[in-house]
């Protein structure tokens, strides 16, 4: 993949909420998990665990306790924090880097899905307690984000979200440059 195609992948990616029934191959799931593994991680500690779910009844249970899941994804990957290892390494429960790393892993996964032609959508609106029970997670693992995966359905409207606003770069960025920088000439 060239630098240009990476940027194109970033620009093209959109959140997928509704999925076709077609299954996601194990090969594709492993490709996405590999991308998560390559994501930057604080101190390169790798304190996240990934739970892959493709069992239809279990997906139904998850959807029922995750109001953020709108369609019927044929596969999901749950990004968890391994608190036992984190605490052992001296991380505090409120350490924000562990949550930031959920985001870096998720973004790699979303881009990997896009690159191999799959749709993906992150979900944080779910009951952690219920998902923990559904997936029989040990107490040391907390589910932090669900990444829904599948082939995109034609309908993608997600009612209730804020309208797509084309935010300008200048609305997002504060520059602190030397007076002789390009912007001041």
């Amino acid at each position: 993949m060239t630098g240009e195609s990476v940027l194109e992948c970033i620009r093209r990616r959109r959140v997928t909420r509704f999925f076709a029934r077609e299954k996601v191959s194990r090969h594709a799931l492993i490709e996405i998990l590999r991308a998560a593994r390559w994501a930057p991680s604080a101190g390169n500690r790798r304190l996240h665990r990934f739970v892959v779910v493709t069992d239809p009844p279990l997906l139904k249970v998850m959807r029922a306790v995750a109001p953020g899941i709108r369609g019927y994804p044929p596969a999901v990957i749950v990004i968890c924090i391994d608190w036992e290892r984190a605490v052992h390494l001296g991380y505090q429960l409120l350490d924000r880097t562990l949550h930031i790393d959920v985001g870096t892993a998720a973004q790699n996964m979303l881009l990997a899905a896009e690159a191999i032609g799959l749709g993906a959508g992150p979900v944080t609106s779910f009951s952690k307690a219920a998902i923990g029970v559904a997936l029989r997670l040990p107490e040391s693992l907390t589910p932090e984000m669900i990444v829904c995966l599948g082939h995109r359905a034609s309908r993608q409207a997600f009612p209730g979200t804020r309208p797509a606003v084309s935010t300008r770069l200048e609305d997002l960025v504060i520059w602190r440059e030397p007076p002789d920088s390009e912007a001041h000439r």
């Binding site: 029922a64 995750a66 109001p67 219920a130 409207a157 009612p159 209730g160 309208p163």
Partner: protein, 107 residues
């Protein structure tokens, strides 16, 4: 007493799914922005309409179908046009009242 025979319109699975949605949504709303509340309730209403409409009486089915179709589009415009969204909800309340009156033979 309703003007139609009582009927069962939800399967056990559908009821369980909806109950799970409502309970978990209630918990999530403690931490989410307040304006997620109407969204979650309308989504539950949409699921209820989708599940029940096929088994509902002729008297109720049309009303359920209409709501199920309208909720996604109307909800989508809630940030673009909050007044229209509020008007939709007001209108929804009125339509519910009419549906109930018809159901109990008082329309």
């Amino acid at each position: 007493m309703s003007v139609v025979e009582p009927r069962l319109v939800l399967t056990e699975e559908e009821a369980l799914q909806l109950l799970s949605f409502l309970i978990t949504a209630a918990r999530l709303l403690l931490d989410e922005p307040a304006d997620y509340g109407p969204l979650r309730l309308l989504l539950a209403a949409q699921y209820l309409c989708a599940d029940t409409a096929p088994r509902s009486s002729d008297l109720v089915r049309g009303f359920m179908h209409e709501l199920e179709k309208e909720i996604p589009d109307r909800t989508a415009e809630r940030y673009r046009n909050p007044a229209a969204f509020a008007a939709f909800l007001d209108d929804g309340c009125v339509r519910v009242a009419h549906a109930l009156l018809a159901y109990y033979g008082r329309e």
